[in-house]
Symmetry: C2
């Protein structure tokens, strides 16, 4: 996040910081807004307020890191969901191909039976004509 | 993360902190280890080192928040993947049901044609017998 290119002014904990980086201003404002929300959240706890600045800084960092790990865990759950869906989809495709092959064979058999049927009917007409004659 | 139940000692930035919470010791050690890694990563940059403690604290928090937003974005991408797969799966199920119905109808038609053929063959045998008689 610390590089060149863009310079964005953000307000964090009531102080202005100039951030430089490749990230868009929108993104940096979003991250700063989240950070302000976390600072406020922490400040609501007496256990946080009574600590010195250094400990507060670590507690804030731990709190954000906790969000990060929870987001990663959520990502992991989604990855497991994707794996399950991929397996299900593989089975469905397999089942579909198998049904399509069976259908193709059934249609061939049907055509053959229709043809046979036609020939048998012609044979009957012929035999009936012979009987009449 | 700050509640009662467990008390875990962690080492962050060379200092011991006692964290209390419902999270497991394993989890808190993992988060602390990540935090130490982030502190080390930031400290490698001169731009970070030359700042005062307060600014360093904000920069560290921003850096972790950046990881959090990237993990969330990754989660969002996975959610989009899941939506696409769900749609694909819905279409596949629909196609499979349609193929199965067609197959069922083809099998019924096949049985009917076989039955008809049998009857026609019997009629032929009868007619041939009549012709011979």
């Amino acid at each position: 996040m610390a590089s060149s290119k863009n310079f964005t002014e953000v307000l964090i904990g009531g102080k202005v910081f100039t951030l430089s980086g490749f990230e868009s201003e929108d993104y940096l404002q979003k991250v700063s807004s989240y950070l302000n929300h976390k600072i406020e959240e922490c400040s609501n706890s007496e256990g946080y307020r009574k600590q010195n600045a250094e400990t507060r800084s670590i507690l804030l960092a731990l709190n954000i890191a906790d969000d990060y790990f929870k987001a990663r865990k959520q990502g992991g759950t989604l990855e497991t969901d994707i794996e399950t869906k991929d397996k299900e989809m593989y089975d469905l495709k397999h089942e579909l191909i198998s049904a399509q092959i069976k259908l193709e064979n059934a249609e061939k058999t049907m055509d053959k039976l229709k043809e046979e049927n036609k020939e048998l009917q012609m044979r009957i007409v012929k035999l009936e004509t012979q009987l009449k004659g």
